[in-house]
């Protein structure tokens, strides 16, 4: 046996590892642990399966600008008539009357014929981008001013303008010349948008909200309380160990089972969405950053909630009755953070800070996310003169589930600040729980 110096830390470490091991083994013998973990796994797997199914299916192509329709019933789609200069509303005017007559194009030629060709960076000011693939702007017999409806001197382009509002946030505005990128490819856009929205929503609601709240509710509330009720706490308290230490080590034991579980589920999600997700590459490596943030945020949430619910259990025999309304409050805060990430109320929640980590990571990993949402909402603008909802499938949910980190912080700072706040909250709840436990008389 070697003779390492026996520091205070080492003897602390022995007690800690003893209680942590003990707690883990105790969880292992409880049937409810396995039921809870199993149900969580099944529920998330079900969502993953639906996701895989959606990703494997074709997204319906929509004629966003309506130029595949033959309005005047002359056999020629509108797009062809516009390109060749005949009147799309007049059945007597069509390219078949040309000399030599031109055969009608198939309708499919006018669906998804002009997708997004954008290349812009996030910076304040106007940028010109876009390319008219199908030539209904560039090659048509429009006048120069008709080709430059957005008035920037460049014919057939799209102006993407970033501007900063008084609240300090960046906003995007899109102004396109008519007929440019007006019929984007749904399959390409929606697949990507739904993939992104899936990662965000499952991360925020599935992981941080459901796992983050219900795992501690089931598993942490009784960490100290159950032992106090059954009288077995006497064995532990008869040892030279401070009560707040017991509180901490029991919580660490709980994390010893919850954290690996969260990590495994997170890796499962990253693998599933990495392989099944959209894109040409074999695996979406870039998303791993967001998945890391999701795993990290869930770990932080389970830590803070674990400390809190454990403390509530120490406080009162019916601690769960305090915990349940609190869980409902956090659910409301989660929804609020998606709509109004700057709300002051969020600062009084735990989940608001945890979700901030995911938002910040999404901002880092997908810098063009805002633009991507705006693009989808614009959806080609409906061609030249159509006035219906042109947003593409997937942009709505993506807009709903993504939000800026709030507080006007940069992504990196936001991540660090929220992590520090969560650690601080955990420390506070540990302190409160330990103090409550210390002042508790145990019969």
């Amino acid at each position: 046996m070697s003779t390492k110096p026996d520091s205070i830390y080492r003897s602390l470490d022995r007690k800690a590892s003893a209680i942590i091991e003990f707690t883990l083994r105790q969880y292992r013998t409880k049937k409810s642990t396995w039921v809870v973990l199993g149900v969580g796994f099944t529920a998330l797997s079900l969502i993953f399966l639906i996701y895989i199914d959606v990703m494997a299916s074709e997204f319906e192509s929509i004629d966003n600008d309506g130029d595949s329709t033959d309005y005047d019933n002359d056999g020629y789609p509108r797009g062809q008539e516009i390109r060749l200069g005949t009147d799309p509303w007049d059945g007597e005017s069509h390219p078949g009357l040309f000399d030599p007559p031109i055969e009608p194009d198939p309708k499919s030629m006018y669906i998804n014929e002009d997708g997004f060709d954008w290349d812009v960076a996030v910076r304040i000011g106007e940028q010109s981008t876009g390319y008219d693939d199908d030539g209904d702007c560039m090659d048509s017999n429009k006048t120069a001013s008709q080709k430059d409806t957005n008035d920037n001197g460049i014919p057939c382009d799209i102006i993407v303008e970033y501007y900063r509002m008084s609240d300090g946030e960046l906003y995007v505005n899109i102004e396109a010349d008519s007929g440019v990128d007006e019929d984007p490819d749904e399959d390409a856009y929606s697949r990507e948008a739904i993939h992104l929205a899936f990662v965000l929503s499952i991360g925020k609601l599935g992981f941080v909200l459901l796992l983050g709240i219900f795992l501690p509710l089931f598993m942490a509330t009784g960490l100290i309380r159950d032992e106090m009720n059954s009288g077995t706490m006497h064995f532990m308290l008869a040892k030279p160990i401070a009560r707040s230490e017991v509180f901490l080590y029991r919580t660490l034991g709980y994390l010893g089972i919850v954290w690996p579980y969260v990590i495994v589920l997170g890796i499962l999600g990253a693998v599933v969405s990495g392989f099944a997700g959209s894109g040409d590459s074999f695996f979406r490596f870039a998303d791993l950053g967001v998945w890391l943030a999701i795993i990290f945020a869930t770990m932080m949430a389970t830590l803070v909630y674990g400390m809190l619910f454990n403390a509530l259990g120490v406080l009162w025999k019916y601690g769960i009755i305090l915990a349940i309304p609190f869980a409902a409050w956090e659910l409301g805060m989660a929804l609020l953070s998606m709509g109004a990430p700057d709300a002051t109320l969020l600062r009084f929640s735990i989940i608001g800070w945890a979700l901030m980590i995911i938002d910040a990571a999404a901002m880092l990993v997908w810098p063009n996310l805002d633009l991507f949402i705006v693009m989808g909402n614009w959806g080609g603008g409906g061609g030249s003169n159509w006035n219906f909802d042109t947003s593409l499938e997937g942009s709505g949910p993506l807009g709903f589930f993504s939000s800026k980190p709030g507080l006007g912080l940069s992504a990196f700072t936001a991540m660090i600040v929220s992590t520090l706040v969560l650690l601080f909250q955990a420390a506070i709840f540990w302190f409160i729980g330990g103090a409550l436990f210390k002042s508790k008389e145990i019969q």
Partner: protein, 330 residues
């Protein structure tokens, strides 16, 4: 600060230095009240070395006393010191204390060995030390053969012994046992009593509670009697007994013909009174219980009396308490 996974090195179990010459247990004017009810009132007590029995009826305050010593309750008045330190504020003295709680609930899913060694590690022992120590104490309470069975399969007596083992694992100087004999069969009782006596011989301070006088009598002669939260008597059981011998005792005999038996018994010198509570019972009053009991069997056999039961209704804690609380007079 890397976690000490291999857990090497020697444990530093005695890092806490107690006050020199502080007694193991020191209570000064200790009171504990719940609202207006006093569970303990004004107890002053100092103990160091030897086995001491704490006697009292249910609700006399034995468990409250022990919970105060173990820092589970906060004193309302006065001060509690274990080796000179207040256990409510500082758990450090428990490095030298072993405690056997009265609660029946245990971790049924652990084996006895796991239970003892896990809790040994809370004393700062390493994994290996804890395992060998656990083997040692389980040997001491003669549970080695079932050490690797689940506690859930243990009998009541085995559970009590494994609790004692867990308390002894840090080689404590003070051992507190709350009702260790409760619910045990005679065999387990004897084993546990032997263990406690052995601990006393090893020079440890042992505090053991019970509500049955005979049990304590077989373990120790030094007793504390608690009654309704007050310290009623403290000292050698013999001296308390001697005083008790001077008070009248009753012997009640159930027989078919009490009058005939009474005629034979009245001749014994030590008998100073006889009464007939009902048609089947005879009650004898005496100052000297021993003398009567040595003569009685002979009389019964010689005269062929049909005796159903012989009972000493006074020879229990209740009547001693009754005597002590009534002021000691006859």
């Amino acid at each position: 600060m890397i976690p000490d996974f291999d857990q090497q090195g020697k444990a530093q179990t005695k890092e806490w230095v107690p006050e020199v010459s502080a007694p193991a247990i020191l209570l000064e004017n200790v009171s504990k009240s719940y609202g207006r009810i006093f569970a303990l009132s004004n107890i002053t007590l100092a103990l160091n070395g030897g086995v001491t029995g704490v006697l009292g009826m249910n609700g006399a305050g034995k468990s409250t006393l022990f919970n105060l010593l173990m820092g589970k309750l906060k004193v309302s008045q006065g001060s509690v010191k274990l080796f000179g330190t207040d256990p409510w504020k500082n758990p450090a003295p428990y490095a030298r204390v072993g405690f056997v709680p009265e609660h029946e609930k245990m971790y049924d899913w652990m084996t006895g060995h796991e239970f003892v060694s896990t809790f040994a590690r809370l004393n700062g022992l390493t994994r290996d030390e804890a395992k060998s120590e656990a083997n040692r104490v389980l040997e001491f309470v003669s549970l080695s053969d079932v050490a690797h069975k689940k506690i859930g399969q243990y009998s009541k007596g085995m559970r009590q012994r494994v609790k004692i083992a867990h308390a002894l694992v840090n080689d404590p100087e003070l051992i507190i046992l709350d009702e260790p004999l409760q619910g045990c069969d005679p065999l387990a009782r004897t084993t546990i009593m032997n263990v406690i006596r052995e601990l006393g011989r090893m020079g440890r301070t042992v505090l053991v509670s019970s509500h049955i006088l005979q049990e304590i009598e077989r373990i120790t002669e030094q007793i504390i009697i608690l009654h309704q939260g007050r310290l009623l008597a403290l000292g050698n059981l013999h001296s308390i007994r001697e005083r008790l011998d001077k008070i009248p005792h009753r012997i009640s005999i159930q027989t078919e013909d009490p009058k005939a038996l009474a005629k034979d018994v009245i001749d014994i010198d030590e008998v100073f009174g006889i009464s007939f509570p009902d048609g089947e019972n005879l009650s004898i009053q005496t100052h000297n219980l021993g003398a009567i009991h040595s003569r009685l069997p002979q009389i019964i056999v010689e005269n062929n009396h049909k005796v159903k039961t012989i009972d000493n209704p006074d020879d229990d804690l209740a009547s001693i308490l009754g005597y002590l609380t009534s002021g000691g007079g006859i």
